[in-house]
Symmetry: D2
Subunit: 380 residues, 4 copies
């Protein structure tokens, strides 16, 4: 199919996207969205199955041995939209400010087109809930979404790229995301008698200072890593030394080796800084997402496919996270970026901003990419 | 008067004390207490005046030029009493857990006795509200409580001293109490992109670590000083670097010179640690109480007077604070301690403890001391 | 020319290399080496000029407008050789442990070959002294070595690569190298009276701890940077607080923007940490080498040329430095790596190791690359 | 004896003092001094014994059971005298800049006088070497100097006190002096590859910062303590992370409890800060002198005796050390201070200063005190 043919679907994609945009639903609450998805797929003759509460999986099966999955996420954000558009969010305090409305719309139309094509293999459509910090991907996998799937493709609209440009890179492109909590247990007492206490606020301070050494000294300068403490809280009164201080933070990196190293070093620093100051430290470390790592071969194929319909550039890595990584850990995956920035139209705001918007002219290119790479992978 | 004569007043003192104990009132809410005090003094023929809202000042004037003030504080604490005694607090969540009930009772009876004695000078009775952290003393002074007063005597029951023992020392005995708040203003942002932020949590940590150097390096080891951060709070999520961090703490010392030095050093450290890490630091420093410093001569006289009725010991300094300091900054003052500990009776709990209690056998010694030192100061 | 033709020169390259290897000379002391280079070039009819004391520049001019430079470094290291080979270093405590002997030999033979070829441009041969930490490149440039040169090619034998493999990457490949010195001036005094001093040892400690935040918080996790304090020294006696503490360290990075940021942050931290603790801090920051950045186009051409004679791989960046960067800052430059590791022959030791050696079978590939890329650049 | 009688000895004391002053000898090198002392005592009929190499002990025995010791120290300092006086030091680079010349002279004359008095007890004269940092006192005790002694008196001329004034206080007056050495063993390596090392310089910095918490948090604000790191040294080059860092410092306090606490806390901080940063820390803690603590009763007697001949004041504690503490740990001891400051004569320089001098008019008061307290202790 030529790009011209895909452009004919623009109206439908936009109509779907605007409908989702007006009715944004938070993670695991995508009731309306998933119902529309389900019905749309059924009308195409595609069998569907519910997964992860509000997720929908479509099965376009041709009795072949090869299966390619295409994934879209459906959840919105707890943000009050500030755009003044006819299709503005109807739900106060909720907004599709990350483009998942477009992801769902593009993939539905890709399903329609693919259902009409002759394919030498099966296609699996993953309409996933709860990408924003809730790891809906993991839930989909637990419910069997990847069963029998060979490769998976994901696509994200991207506000930093000019409209219609597609960005693809092999290897790591989004960081792993971990959460940690540190509890320092000291001994409280009167602020005027520090010698009768073990001051957990001083201990926490010393510890945070020392955590900087993980990135500055323990990680190769050629690797990327972040250790951030985002929250600290301890004490109730100016003149009382508290019993405990709690901290929460995040770790980001692209390599499992570095990730393990950081977890180990965090543990050592928490333990020994606490003991040095007469306290006991506890580290609760929770891995959220892995790094999103594109398969080398898929990336190469993706570039070739995309370059037939638009300009293709390298995608720069970011320390942000994406739960597409959960799929790509298990089977070869490719996560590509579709530019939707258009300065002439004033579409310049970053993701998660109340003024985030999408140049809808780009959307047929997303659908086209999904269709074409599927055909390429199944038919060549 | 001999001690035997004072002991005859024990029953009255105890009755008054128990009544106050059953009806504890917090700072500036001493409505019932002050009304009782007022009426008691009026019956003695002592003129009274309201000051500091719920404070009462009694004037026993003999037309002389010399005036000695005796001070008692009247406020209770927001503590739920756990003693099982007939005179247990009737007011839930409030308790005389620092002995101010006894202070008021002892001084009322001292006023009765003094009103019957021939004195070559005037006596001023200061029944002060709100000693516990609200600096009622300052309000009394502002309202004129010290006008025309030459010297002032205060007395505190003390759980660390054996019953009936009186402790007196010249010079500094209780520390100055200051409150400080530090606000670190950085630049917030995503926890995965620390380079786009100025991390106020790291800045606060570095700063708290550095604050230790004030006591360890800037203050003479022969002086006493405390700099405590009792509270720290910053951030709302594990993956967001916040804009601000706030800390609160207290400074204690005995010398105005050291106090000024600490305030200056705090300011320097807050300013420059913040600038070193790209933040702006703000220090809000508030002096609460000065150190309580006993007049040398009064202490000597106090020891002589007390040794006629009981055992006298030296009082050890504490870093705790007392707003009696406000009076003693202006005129010569003496603050003495009356032992009320009695292990046999199970009276062993510290001040501000829900089981704090008083060996009432000691109370006549407090009244006796107040009467005798007043006579000594006016008549000899 | 085919690789077979180049292989005929192997004996000559090896002979030259072994001669240089037996007579290693330290930076700016390359008297014997440079004399041999000079005579060799003169015999080829190539005009020479002395630069940077012991450097030699050869001019193969054809009266054309285009000039390509080829650079070899000539200096050895102050290391005692531990290899047991017939051509072992004759000079005690000196050794060609970084392969500069091979660089010189390969380039001499490349000059011989190029002097016999028909070229549509000029070739400049840069035999540079003092690459090891003395920045001989800068001295060569100051003496005019790059005058009229359009592009420059450098080649380094590399112990981490299998023999004969050539590694080439576009963009930054070796880090910039800076030196810094920090002097903390406090106020000395008796160790028993810290309050009469401003302790520079505590100040330096606090500062080094805070320096970690540059890499951990101020630099993008997607950039590479190192800030190392390698030396600290202060004080003469256990019981005397000294006047001063001195530190020395190094900064490494690939980007001028990051480099400037680090220099600025170092200055801010030194200044404000010192002021926070009553000291004065001084930062003396000296840029040694810039990052070595390969020209994109030259890298592409290099890959093509090399792939005709051997296997070509990507070169991984290192935080080590190389003064070839001085040339490549001014004109487009390409720095390539020639594998010389051969485990079967026991050639496995890293650079600067007393057992470092070279698989001499690889050397004709270096000469071939130098000849072929020159021809490619001048004749196509 | 009246003060007038003592004043007759002034000339002799001054003559002796000036002779010692002209011939200063460092610790354990007091050959000339001890020979003069020995001969002087022998002429008085006082038996002598050598101890601690250059120490001299005189025995004025009356066959009684009670023995009082009087102690003087004899060593000078490695300082070049800058006073322009006829009796200026004859030995370049050596000077009696702490008054030990006067101590020896005063005690010799006291011995003369006491040898002529009728005493109901024995007197032991301790002429001790090496007080300045070498703990000659310990050596004297090891050699038996205190055998059979009941009480000991020491006297120090004092530049901060006006001439002739005697200062005496009960309890602790000079601090204990301890020496510590900390070795941090990390893992060295190239400054560009911190992740392959365990940086001992960062570890030492973090540790020194944390040491501040001992004084600021672990010691009661009512106690006195100093923890000073006076020396730090690590690393040989700006671009190499060293294997080790070494630190040396001192601890001062007045209480054995606090001293033990500090030693323990030092150990904990050294151990755990090292482990937190991947290093191993070693603490070598050496107790030099104990605190000098005056016996309460002796202090009272001393005040009474001194007040008969001069003005007596309280002596302020100092964090400086004195090995007289070694004697006073074992038997009741009293260490008193004799003022020798005289601004009119320009005698204003502190101890250990090249312009330190003594108002010799004060010296007979020292002799008088030594004689009178001995008589008081033996005869009353």
């Amino acid at each position: 199919m030529s790009m011209d043919e895909f452009l004919k679907y623009k109206e439908e994609i936009v109509r779907l996207r605007r409908d989702f945009h007006m009715h944004p639903e938070l993670g695991f609450e995508e009731q309306r969205t998933s119902k529309i998805v389900e019905e749309y797929l059924k009308e195409l003759g595609i069998k569907t199955k519910r997964m992860a509460t509000t997720g929908v999986v479509g099965y376009l099966d041709n009795g072949e041995n090869v299966t390619i999955a295409l994934r879209a996420d459906m959840d919105a954000l707890p943000i009050q939209e500030e755009n003044d558009v006819p299709y503005k969010s109807r739900y106060p305090g909720k907004m599709h400010a990350c483009g998942h409305d477009a992801h769902t719309a593009m993939l539905l139309v890709a399903a329609k087109i693919l259902s009409q094509r002759k394919l030498k293999g099966n296609v699996r459509f993953l309409f996933q809930p709860a990408e924003e910090g809730l790891n809906g991907a993991k839930r989909m996998i637990d419910d069997g979404a990847l069963k029998g799937v060979d490769k998976i493709i994901g696509l994200h609209v991207w506000a930093e790229l000019p409209s219609k440009v597609i960005a693809i890179s092999p290897g790591p492109i989004m960081a792993s995301v971990d959460h940690f909590k540190i509890i320092i247990r000291g001994k409280g007492g009167h602020g005027a008698s520090p010698h009768q206490t073990n001051d957990p606020i001083l201990c926490a301070s010393s510890l945070i200072t020392s955590l900087q050494s993980i990135v500055s000294r323990n990680i190769s300068p050629l690797e990327s890593a972040v250790v951030t403490v985002g929250k600290i809280s301890g004490g109730t009164a100016f003149n009382i030394i508290p019993e405990n201080v709690e901290m929460e933070g995040t770790v980001r990196t692209f390599s499992e080796e570095v990730r393990s190293l950081i977890e180990r070093r965090l543990g050592e620093i928490v333990k020994h800084h606490s003991l040095a100051l007469g306290c006991r430290g506890e580290l609760i470390y929770k891995k959220l997402n892995s790094a999103t790592v594109n398969d080398e071969e898929l990336a190469q194929i993706g570039k070739e496919v995309a370059s037939k319909i638009t300009r293709v550039v390298e995608q720069k890595k970011t320390m942000g996270g994406e739960d597409f990584s959960e799929y790509a850990r298990i089977i070869p995956g490719l996560f590509v970026y579709l530019g939707i920035r258009n300065e002439e139209k004033g579409i310049i705001y970053p993701h998660h901003n109340p003024r985030f918007n999408i140049d809808e002219d780009a959307l047929p290119y997303g659908t086209a990419f999904e269709v074409l790479i599927t055909e390429k992978l199944l038919n060549s």
